[in-house]
């Protein structure tokens, strides 16, 4: 997967010319990772992902810089997530993560505490700052390589490597403090 600007510009031109599938296939994983990194709950992340990609679909003809579609999408996701965060401040919503889990089968091998550990992990992830969470989701959710993350976020590879290290260290520290883990 390449996030080279020229490559993205070509995909945008194709989308404008009537073939949007390739562009959205390329952007969906990274957009999902950004949505997960920007939102507090899984349901909210899916809503933000849906809204943002639809927004891109509707706005594809109005992009000023075709090569910058990735930063456009990143900004749209962050804005949509921020809008939701503002609304959440005045309206309580219960996320699926907070709801009791029914019907989720746990194998004996998983142990009774696997669900607790997962909750602790997600809670610790939510505690990280936005940049650290973004690095971890891009790497482990979208499965991007260091170079791809660097292209997507406009940073150098060394900076990405360094931020990933800091994010993992912070996550480990938080988990060590959480008794559920």
């Amino acid at each position: 997967m390449s996030f080279d600007r020229a490559h993205l510009a070509r995909l945008v031109r194709d989308a404008r010319g009537g073939k949007p599938a390739e562009l959205f296939e390329a952007l969906a994983p990274v957009a999902a990772a950004w949505a997960r990194a920007s939102c507090r709950t899984h349901g909210e992340a899916e809503d933000v992902l849906q809204e943002s990609l639809l927004e891109l679909y509707r706005s594809i003809d109005r992009l000023n810089n075709d090569g910058a579609v990735l930063s456009w999408l990143r900004r749209a996701i962050r804005n949509n997530a921020a809008d939701r965060a503002r609304r959440r401040a005045v309206r309580r919503e219960v996320g699926i993560e907070a709801a009791p889990e029914h019907g989720v089968e746990c194998s004996p091998a998983d142990g009774l505490d696997s669900s607790d550990h997962r909750r602790a992990l997600l809670a610790a992830l939510a505690d990280l700052d936005d940049g650290e969470r973004e690095m971890l989701t891009l790497r482990h959710d979208a499965g991007l390589s260091l170079a791809e993350i660097a292209e997507a976020t406009g940073q150098s590879v060394r900076a990405v490597e360094s931020r990933l290290f800091r994010a993992r260290r912070a996550l480990r520290a938080r988990l060590q403090r959480d008794p559920r883990s």
């Binding site: 009537g18 609304r87 482990h140």
Partner: protein
Amino acid sequence: MNCERAAKIISARLDRDLSPGEAAQLDEHLAACRDCRRAADDFRNLTADLESAFRSAPVRLKQPIPTAARPARRAIGLRLAAAAALLLGAGLLLGHTLLTRAGSRRKHGVEWTELASGTRVFRHRAARVLFGGAMNDVDELIQLDRGEVEVAAVRAEPGRCSVRVVTPAGEVVTLGTRFSVEVKNPGRTRVEGEGEEMNRLIAAAAAVMVVSVTEGEVLVSGSPGQTVVRAGEQAEIGGGKLTVGKTDRILKGRVIKVDGAAVTISVGRSSGVREGFEFNCKAKGWSGKVLVVRKNSAVLAVKGDAAVGDVAATGFTTILTEAPGRNERTPARPAAVEGGEVVGDLRLTLFEGTRVSRTVAREYVPGGDAEGQEKVTETVARTLHARIENVGRQPVILPLVAQPFRKNVYSRHAVELHARDTEGQAVDRVKRPARQARRDAAPAPPAVTVLKPGESIRQPVEGNLYRLRFPAAGKFKVWVEFAVPAAKDQPLEGHRAWSGKLKSNEVDWEHRPGRAPSRGPSRNRRRHWSGREENRE
């Protein structure tokens, strides 16, 4: 190598291949340092756990983004058409579900949809709406899963209701009105593994429906029961309770300009706010009463103190509901000498009349009389008509082509209207509208008007298709001529063709310029009025 450097390389090892030198140094350090070995294990487990957690709950699109071929970029007009088609396509792929963008109301005004029946649905707050169309005794079935919609409903036929809005918490049935419905706590508590029915019950138990009525009445029903909610009231269904109180959301907008005492508020186009409304508004650091003095599109000019920022009406004190203006004509009287000018069998007479436009407004005050208080405004206008009457004993043929779409208007190719002022100022005839000219350019079916003895035709001098344009207010001496050519191609047995000129008697006409003659309320306005009329009944 120290531990800090080792930790960085341990992290990097998860993302890339290490160089031989780095790998050797790290192995050497790990063999000697127990903390770093534990850190290496933790990082590896952390990575596996993260990937497992992400895999178990992937963030996915709830509905597919349309990836079918989309129209290429073309000219503006084509792009607009393409956008419409695109939305339609998106709607189809999303199962007719239309999603609004979060905050779209605040940023760009309100997105709205006009349904087939003419009912308009304004979508706020990232509403997820499913339009079901007509069903049984309902003209429009609307399913609202989340967010808020505002509905301006048209009048339904007897025995039917125009709109039914179904939400997880209950439903709303219109009685010919305008209202908004909001769903709070929508299905966020979906439980995987449970069936649709159980999830529907869970969502219904968690959801709260808020119905705010701006005009008219609605019937709100849910599991706790049902009730009629009237203008100015707000019903809330949730948690097994149904409560009705005063509405707190009629207007939402933003103060965009404060210039001395003049305040401009930008509101959604659908706010239903009109001149004369008085609101208790609340903004950040400010609250007060404002009176809407002018509305221009989605911008209100209001009287009252205000500060720049978001503003919300916390209640309203007055709602005016207009009824359609009713034209009442007083009997026309001859404008000059009784009898008029007679040429042959035809007589031309000028008639003066008075037209009264009556507008009925109804004022509702929450807590006041349910019938409200009626206010009547009258506007009186003078009218002038010329009349051709057959005073002979035989039917007369006039080559008049009646316009099928408008009463008492005839093709100017048959009848020509003239008027001249007596004070040196020209009086122009208004040119025919382009649309009318195009219509006339089409070959008109041959038609004649046969005036039987005693019958007459009438032509307004002012205020119709061939109205005269007076240059300014003042007194004029007006006379009217009809130039009628002979009916050539339609010799009707037993009828007499007539041609020649008729000039009416003179009349002193005091011209007072007023508003341009109305072409009647627009289609949508008529619909709106229809609803309001029903509200009054």
